[in-house]
């Protein structure tokens, strides 16, 4: 049968199952009523040029099944998400679901613009976030959401007070500062060329003055606007009694600036405005790259938090009402529909169904919950309608307590980060003291205040700006860039150093060493096995086992014929059944088969899935959670580096041990609750270990937050990403090993750089203290020393990674 594309969404289906409609001379095909509706709506609004813009892009079919519109007008919702502008307008940030291409953005904006009462609607194509401003007197938010839904997209609100918004703001701020710094640097450079040319060929003082003033004008905004961040950092350092990099950069740049002003006015000595601007620009760019990699990770987090429900369905006297999560009190009866996420802890009172608790326990098989069983927030109800009694209110529920714990740990700086600046901190302190002593010495013994000041400042100028200031940022910059290229995101440069020092690696099992989802390892087929039928059957279920089989079929087979099944029924925690053209299809575990009188053998360590057609067994699948590729080699390599590798898991001993044996981990801690994992991390700390923890679930987050370096898997699909310091985007265990190698190599480069600048300083600084500094020599020495540091840092790139 020929396949035709749907006129709206462009997905292809058999002609026979399509809704056809004559339209002038041609026939239109639609895959569903939703698409048909959207098409006519767009046509009548004169927006059908959308399809020209769309080209060949395929959309999601416009299926409408929401009935939660009224929640957008609730008071609680308003307080949480809607901002009122100064002009009395309402403003909200939405995430639009279903945007595939720029034509989608165009259509959404266009339709919103045409809606009365909408004052502004801008959609960001890159992250699908929309800002909508509207007049509350003319239109309600529910109407706006309805408009978006009517054209086949969905929108849900997101809280602009979240991390991401803050990260975005810092990013913009940094960007503006960098623009000014780069502008200043580029212009000062060509003026400086004229200046340096003057040294060799001779220049009249009156021209020198002009160049000096021009440099002064350019350097001033760079130092005080772009360099403001360093002054701020130095101030915080001063308040906490730490001499940090910021202190060094700020004091060095400021003193060089003051000295240059003095030199400019007194015609005494050379100006160093170009050094001031260069040092600020370089260090600032390094800091900006840190901010950028931080934002990446936060982006992923927000859409997850945004999909957490803010309302629950309460049942009171057999009447259902939507209530904001904050207003639920203990003892309320809450109803859960299939697919809904639990946000409040409780105990089941009515009904039974399976729950996906993988984000809490790491266990990927669903758990059957019956009357009297506890329901934990963060789990997802998979297959049936359930009522349960709230035993805690929202703020005390597991999900929220974890979230608040995470927020706390993000704002609180890890203690090790302060250590990262220690080495350069000592140098800064020593240089500053030396400069002071020089100044005091010259003043006391020489008697001339002016000369004492110049000599003191020249100590800082020759020592500070280049080599020492760039030793750490330059190397970590290259290290971070190198790591990012290999899909390893370090959120901050300091983490490279901490990771290099670590001597213990704690690994979570599910999702970190293993893939965290069952996949087919063995298959037996019998008579009557039809892949198309099985595919249609397993596609109806979201159960991890069904999805594992669906993935397996998709990998091995050709495209599947779409089959419309009838009487689809999900039996909780057992399987699915359906009929097709009179045939009875059943798919599920052994108990399900035995209940239907189908004989099957059950002896295996793996999870089993049977498929039966008309009461006869057609196929038998064995599934297990496979170990990630290369895990064994990576762990062996890490152990060879002298790092102790430990496995922490919430799973039971037997399966933990078998995975540990397979990858070669000797130390296994099984049956751990989230708190237990964290307690173990603390115990490792007490043994004076620097701990790196890798994990991916909510159950790992507390432990992640406690460890010195937390590594999360990119698809951790969790708050885990937000507490982590390093994110492995490709999720390969090999990346763990590579992260170690990069960090150790970078740390070595940092040490080399610091060692070199120490050497340079021990030679150059005494000259400066003695008052022998010839400006030309100083300028040459400074540029050369920084070139050495840059070159040495670049050598990190030679590290061979597969």
């Amino acid at each position: 049968m020929p396949k035709v594309p749907c006129t709206h969404c462009h997905l292809e289906f058999d002609e026979s199952v399509m809704i056809t409609e004559p339209h002038g001379e041609e026939t239109l095909y639609f895959c569903c009523k939703g698409c048909q509706g959207v098409y006519h709506l767009l046509e009548s609004e004169g927006l059908d040029t959308f399809y020209d813009k769309l080209g060949d892009t395929k959309l999601q079919p416009a299926i409408q099944q929401h009935d939660d519109l009224e929640k957008f007008d609730l008071e609680g919702f308003k307080n949480k998400y809607i901002k009122t502008t100064d002009e009395g307008l309402n403003e909200i940030y939405l995430i639009i679901e279903g945007i595939h291409c720029s034509a989608c953005v165009w259509l959404n904006e266009k339709v919103l613009h045409k809606t009365d009462g909408v004052i502004e609607a801008t959609i960001n194509y890159t992250n699908n976030k929309a800002k909508v401003v509207w007049d509350p007197d003319e239109i309600r938010l529910s109407k706006i959401i309805e408009t978006i839904r009517s054209i086949g997209y969905n929108a849900y609100p997101y809280d602009p007070a979240l991390q991401e918004e803050r990260a975005e703001k810092t990013k913009k701020e940094y960007y503006a500062r960098i623009l000014v710094a780069v502008f200043g640097a580029m212009n000062i450079m060509w003026i400086a060329i004229a200046h340096y040319a003057g040294y060799f060929t001779g220049m009249e003082q009156r021209f020198k003055d002009i160049l000096n003033v021009a440099e002064f004008i350019l350097a001033t905004p760079v130092l005080f606007y772009s360099g403001w961040i360093f002054f701020r950092g130095a101030y915080y350092g001063y308040k906490n009694h730490i001499v940090n990099m910021d202190t060094l950069v700020a004091s060095g740049a400021l003193l060089a600036y003051i000295y240059s002003i003095y030199a400019m006015i007194s015609h005494n000595g050379e100006v160093y405005f170009d050094s001031v601007v260069m040092i600020i620009t370089f260090v600032l760019v390094g800091k900006y790259l840190e901010v950028l990699s931080k934002k990446h990770a936060v982006d992923t987090l927000d859409s997850i938090m945004g999909s957490t429900p803010t309302e629950v369905t309460l049942v009171q006297n057999e009447e259902k009402t939507l209530v904001s999560v904050e207003n639920v009190i203990m003892g309320d009866i809450i109803e859960l529909k299939p697919g809904e996420k639990v946000v409040i802890d409780g105990i089941v009172t009515d009904g039974e169904g399976s729950f996906d608790e993988s984000s809490l326990t790491g266990e990927n098989l669903p758990v059957l919950k019956q009357k009297g069983d506890p329901v934990l927030s963060g789990s997802i109800c998979l297959d049936s309608v359930i009522r349960y009694e709230a035993t805690k209110d929202a703020s005390n529920s597991l999900l929220y307590s974890i979230v608040s714990l995470l927020e706390e740990s993000i704002t609180k700086k890890p203690r090790i980060e302060q250590l990262a600046d220690q080495v350069s901190g000592y140098f800064s302190a020593v240089i500053l003291t030396l400069a002071l002593l020089t100044f005091a010495g010259w003043w006391y013994f020489g008697g001339a205040f002016e000369q004492a000041l110049i000599t003191g400042i020249s100590v800082i100028v020759i020592a500070c700006p280049c080599a020492l200031g760039m030793a750490t940022p330059m190397a970590t910059l290259v290290g971070i860039g190198m790591a990012a290229k290999h899909n390893i995101l370090f959120k901050e440069a300091g983490y490279l150093e901490t990771m290099a020092k670590s001597d213990l690696l704690a690994l979570d099992k599910t999702g970190t060493i293993t893939e965290g989802r069952p996949s087919v390892v063995n298959l037996q087929t019998f008579e009557g096995y039809d892949e198309d039928l099985l595919y249609a059957l397993v596609s109806t279920s979201k159960h991890p086992v069904s999805e594992g089989i669906r993935r397996y079929l998709e990998k091995n087979g050709k495209p599947f014929a779409p089959i419309a099944l009838d009487a689809i029924k999900t039996v909780q925690a057992k399987g699915v059944e359906a009929t097709y053209e009179g045939k009875k299809l059943k798919g599920g575990n052994g108990t399900f088969m035995q209940a239907s009188g189908i004989a099957c053998s059950d002896d295996t360590a793996h999870t089993l899935f049977y498929f039966a057609v008309d009461g006869k067994l057609a196929a038998r699948f064995e599934l297990s959670d496979t170990i990630r590729e290369g895990a064994k080699e990576a762990i062996a390599n890490i152990q060879r580096m002298g790092i102790r590798v430990v496995m922490l898991t919430g799973d039971h001993e037997a399966s933990a041990q078998s995975v540990a044996d397979a990858v070669g981990i000797e130390e296994v801690h099984a049956r751990l609750l989230p708190q237990d994992k964290a307690a173990l991390i603390d115990a490792f700390h007490e043994e004076k270990h620097i701990v790196v923890m890798a994990g991916d679930g909510i159950n790992d987050t507390i432990a992640l937050a406690r460890s010195d370096i937390a590594i999360a898997m990119g698809s951790g699909a969790d708050v885990a990403i937000s507490v982590s310091d390093v994110v492995l985007l490709d999720e390969k265990p090999k990346s763990l090993y590579e992260a170690y190698r990069i960090s150790r190599r970078t740390y070595r480069a940092v040490k080399e750089n610091l060692g070199f600048s120490l050497l340079y300083n021990t030679i150059a600084v005494p000259f400066a203290i003695a008052g022998f500094v010839n400006p030309l020599v100083a300028a040459l020495a400074m540029s050369l020393s920084s070139l050495v540091v840059v070159g040495n840092s670049m050598r990190i790139k030679w590290l061979k990674l597969k």
């Binding site: 002009e87 004052i119 960001n124 021209f207 002009i210």
Partner: protein, 78 residues
């Protein structure tokens, strides 16, 4: 060569550069660089209609403002 020429050259070129910088900062502040693909798409799709749309939105905003001023100005007689 007189100082004035050097001053003029330096001053004008730096000033022109500064103008560009200011424009860039303004664009950044008003969020024109928030979405990289939008600019490119604008070149592909925008035509007269988009311009009319933009004008329509401007007018909407103005009308709303006017309405609000009217509302604020209205004082019930005591």
């Amino acid at each position: 060569m007189s100082e004035n020429i050097v001053i003029l050259m330096l001053g004008i070129s730096t000033f022109l550069g500064a103008l560009g910088l200011a424009a860039l900062l303004w664009g950044l502040k008003t969020g024109q660089f928030d979405d990289q693909s939008k600019f490119i798409d604008g070149a592909r799709f925008d035509n007269e209609e988009e311009l009319r749309d933009a004008v329509m939105m401007e007018e909407k905003r103005k009308a709303q403002k006017k309405k609000k001023e009217k509302k604020d100005a209205y004082r019930p007689a005591d």
